[in-house]
C-alpha cells in the first residue's frame, strides 16, 4: 500500500502578525514557520498505518523556505521517502490550497498512491481546503475531519467527526483522499540526534507543468481585528491581575 502525506509550513500564530504594505497577505519575512498541526497528525497517522499494517509512506511538500528541514523531519519520523515539488515563484500570485491543488495533483498522479493523507485545514485556507480539492482533481472519494483511519485490502474505514462530539464510521474505497484532524496517537517526538543524522541527505525535487488554479486573492484585503471593543483588560503586575480577577469572581458570586 502506498500512502502520500502532504506537509505544509504555516506561520507560528503565537507570534505577532503584521500585514504586507498592500495588505494582501501577512508579512512572512520575520515570522517563524512550523508544520501545520493537522499535517503533523496526518504524518503520524501515515506512520502508524505503516507500522501496524505495512505501507510505503511518501511525504510531499511544495518547495519553500524550510521545506528541506521539514521533509528531513518526516524521514526521521518514519516516512520512507520524501519529495519536494519546485514551483516558479516568479509571478505566483497565491500559494493558497486552491491555487496549489493542481500542482499537488500532478505530483500525486506520478506517485499513484492508494491513500493521500493531508491536514484537514490550514490557517489560511480562505478559498477552500486542500483535501477536497485533491479529491476533486483526482476524481477520488474524499472525507474531511477524520480522526481515525483503519486500512483493509482495498478500502479504509475512517471516523468522520461532527459537531457536538458525534462521529460516523465510513468505509471508503481506495484510492482516496483523507483530510485528517487527529491521528489515533499524538505525534511522536523526534530526537535531535536522529535529525542530525539526516542533515546530509539530499531531498529529491520534482517539477510539474500544471499551473496554479485561480483564486480570489487579488480581490482580498486583510485587516487586523480591532480588539479595542473586546474584553475589559486587567492591567498591571501578576498580583494586581490576580486581585482584579478575584474581585470580579467575588462580585459575581463565583468565589
Amino acid at each position: 500500500m502506498k500512502i502520500v502525506v502532504v506537509l505544509r509550513l504555516e506561520p507560528v500564530l503565537t507570534e505577532q502578525l503584521e500585514l504586507t504594505e498592500d495588505s494582501r497577505d501577512i508579512d512572512k519575512e520575520w515570522i517563524g514557520l512550523e508544520l501545520n498541526q493537522f499535517d503533523d497528525q496526518a504524518l503520524e497517522q501515515a506512520v502508524l498505518i505503516k507500522e501496524s499494517q505495512g505501507a510505503h509512506v511518501t511525504a510531499l511538500a511544495i518547495e519553500d523556505e524550510g521545506t528541506d528541514r521539514l521533509l528531513k523531519t518526516a524521514l526521521a519520523r518514519g516516512a520512507d521517502e520524501v519529495l519536494q515539488i519546485s514551483v516558479d515563484d516568479e509571478g505566483l500570485e497565491s500559494r493558497s490550497s486552491r491555487a496549489m491543488s493542481p500542482i499537488y495533483a500532478e505530483a500525486l498522479r506520478e506517485i499513484n498512491p492508494d491513500l493521500v493523507l493531508v491536514g484537514v485545514v490550514s490557517t489560511a485556507d480562505l478559498y477552500g481546503e486542500l483535501s477536497p480539492y485533491l479529491g476533486a482533481h483526482m476524481g477520488w472519494p474524499q472525507v474531511s475531519a477524520v480522526s481515525d483511519v483503519q486500512t483493509n485490502d482495498s478500502s479504509i474505514i475512517v471516523q468522520q467527526e461532527y459537531a457536538g462530539g458525534r462521529a460516523v464510521r465510513i468505509e471508503v474505497s481506495m484510492p482516496a483522499v483523507v483530510g485528517l484532524q487527529t491521528a489515533t496517537q499524538p505525534p511522536r517526538y523526534v530526537a535531535g540526534s536522529k535529525l542530525r543524522e539526516l542533515l546530509k541527505v539530499e531531498i529529491p525535487t520534482t517539477d510539474t507543468s500544471s499551473q496554479p488554479m485561480g483564486d480570489l486573492s487579488l480581490n482580498s484585503v486583510l485587516e487586523l481585528p480591532d480588539l479595542s471593543e473586546g474584553a475589559e483588560m486587567f492591567e498591571g503586575a501578576t498580583d494586581s491581575v490576580v486581585d482584579q480577577i478575584y474581585s470580579l469572581l467575588q462580585d459575581r458570586g463565583l468565589a
Binding site: A124, V168, E171, S173
Partner: protein, 318 residues
C-alpha cells in the same frame, strides 16, 4: 441577486442550528432562498420543512441511500441541483460536510469559493465577504464575483431574531439520479463521549489551551479548577496531544457549552473554539499574546504569563 441555494444538514430529521443560520444570512441577500434537503424518506422530508422558516422553497431529494450523510451521495445531489438551477450563490456551513462539499462542488461546477465567512453583503453582481483566517487573528475582506460558493462560520447570526414572523417554505421534491453508490458506506455511528464528565451540565469551566505545554503542567490547573468548583476542559490541540480526554474538549468537534463561568488559560480563541463557548455568561481569558482573538470575545482578559497568574490565583482562593 436572484437565488441563494443553501445546503441543509440534519441528523435523523433534526436540522442543525448552523443550517438554520444559513437561512438568516441569506434573507436580504436575494429574492429566493432555496434550501436543499437530502432525506431518507418523504416523511422525514416533511418533518424537516417545518423547521426551515424563512426559506422560500425547500428542494427535497428523497432516497433511502441518503439516510446518513456521505460526500459521495450528497455531492451528486448538490452538483446536479447547481447545474440545473444555477443559483447565484451556494451557501453551506463550516462543518465537516461543508468542508467536504464546498471545494468539491466548486470544482464540479467551476465556481469560486470563499470560506470562514462571518459576514456577507450583496453588491450587484458580487457579494462582499468578511472571513476569519490565521486562527481568527486576521480578517479578510473579499469581493466575490457571482456565481460562487460561500462557507459560513456557525454562531455568527441570531436565526430566531431574523426569521420571526417568516412563513414555512414551499416544498418541491425533485429526482436526482444517484447512480451506483459504491465508494462510501456508513458502517457505524459514535455518540459523544461523556465517560468522565458531561461539560454541558457544568456551571463553571476552566479551559486550558495549547500553551499548557504538557501534562507535567496540568496539576496547577487541576488545583485552580477545584478551587473554582469548575470542570477542567481543553481546546482541540490539548485533546489531540492526549493531555485531556475527548470528553473534555470544547469547540467545533467537541462539546458546546454555556456555563456561568468560562475561564480560559492559554486558549487563543480560534473560530472553531469560539463556536463551542461564545454564549457563556462570563468569559475570562488569560493569554500571553496581546493579538489573541479571544480578547475580542471574552468579557475580561489579561495579557500575562498564565504560569504566574494561575498559582497566585490558587493561593488567593485558599
Amino acid at each position: 441577486m436572484n437565488t441563494v441555494l443553501i445546503y441543509v444538514e440534519h441528523v435523523g430529521g433534526v436540522v442543525e442550528d448552523a443550517s438554520k443560520e444559513l437561512i438568516a444570512h441569506s434573507i436580504g441577500l436575494c429574492d429566493q432562498v432555496e434550501a436543499l434537503v437530502c432525506a431518507a424518506s418523504q416523511d422525514q422530508l416533511n418533518g424537516i420543512v417545518g423547521q426551515l422558516f424563512g426559506a422560500s422553497t425547500v428542494i427535497g431529494i428523497c432516497d433511502e441511500r441518503l439516510a446518513s450523510y456521505t460526500s459521495e451521495t450528497v455531492l451528486k445531489c448538490l452538483n446536479s441541483l447547481i447545474a440545473t438551477r444555477n443559483p447565484d450563490l451556494v451557501v453551506m456551513s463550516y462543518s465537516s460536510a461543508g468542508m467536504d462539499l464546498a471545494a468539491s462542488a466548486a470544482i464540479g461546477t467551476e465556481r469560486n469559493v470563499i470560506s470562514y465567512v462571518t459576514e456577507l453583503k450583496s453588491d450587484a453582481n458580487a457579494v462582499n465577504a468578511v472571513s476569519q483566517i490565521y486562527g481568527g487573528k486576521m480578517f479578510a475582506k473579499t469581493e466575490v464575483d457571482l456565481p460562487a460558493v460561500v462557507v459560513m462560520v456557525p454562531g455568527t447570526i441570531d436565526y430566531a431574531a431574523v426569521i420571526e414572523e417568516k412563513e414555512i417554505p414551499q416544498l418541491e421534491v425533485v429526482d436526482v439520479e444517484l447512480g451506483e453508490v459504491v465508494r462510501m458506506t456508513v458502517v457505524g455511528e459514535i455518540s459523544p463521549e461523556t465517560d468522565d464528565v458531561d461539560l454541558t451540565k457544568a456551571e463553571r469551566i476552566l479551559c486550558v489551551g495549547r500553551a499548557l505545554g504538557g501534562t507535567e503542567n496540568l496539576a496547577q490547573f487541576e488545583e485552580l479548577a477545584t478551587k473554582l468548583g469548575a470542570e477542567l476542559a481543553g481546546s482541540r490541540p490539548v485533546i489531540d496531544a492526549g493531555w485531556l480526554s475527548k470528553a473534555r474538549q470544547v469547540g467545533k468537534s467537541g462539546t458546546k457549552v454555556k456555563p456561568r463561568l468560562y475561564f480560559m488559560a492559554g486558549v487563543s480563541g480560534a473560530p472553531e473554539h469560539l463556536e463551542g463557548m461564545q454564549d457563556s455568561e462570563l468569559i475570562i481569558a488569560l493569554n500571553s499574546d496581546e493579538q489573541a482573538p479571544i480578547f475580542s470575545k471574552a468579557h475580561y482578559g489579561a495579557v500575562c504569563d498564565m504560569f504566574q497568574v494561575v498559582p497566585a490565583l490558587v493561593e488567593k482562593l485558599d
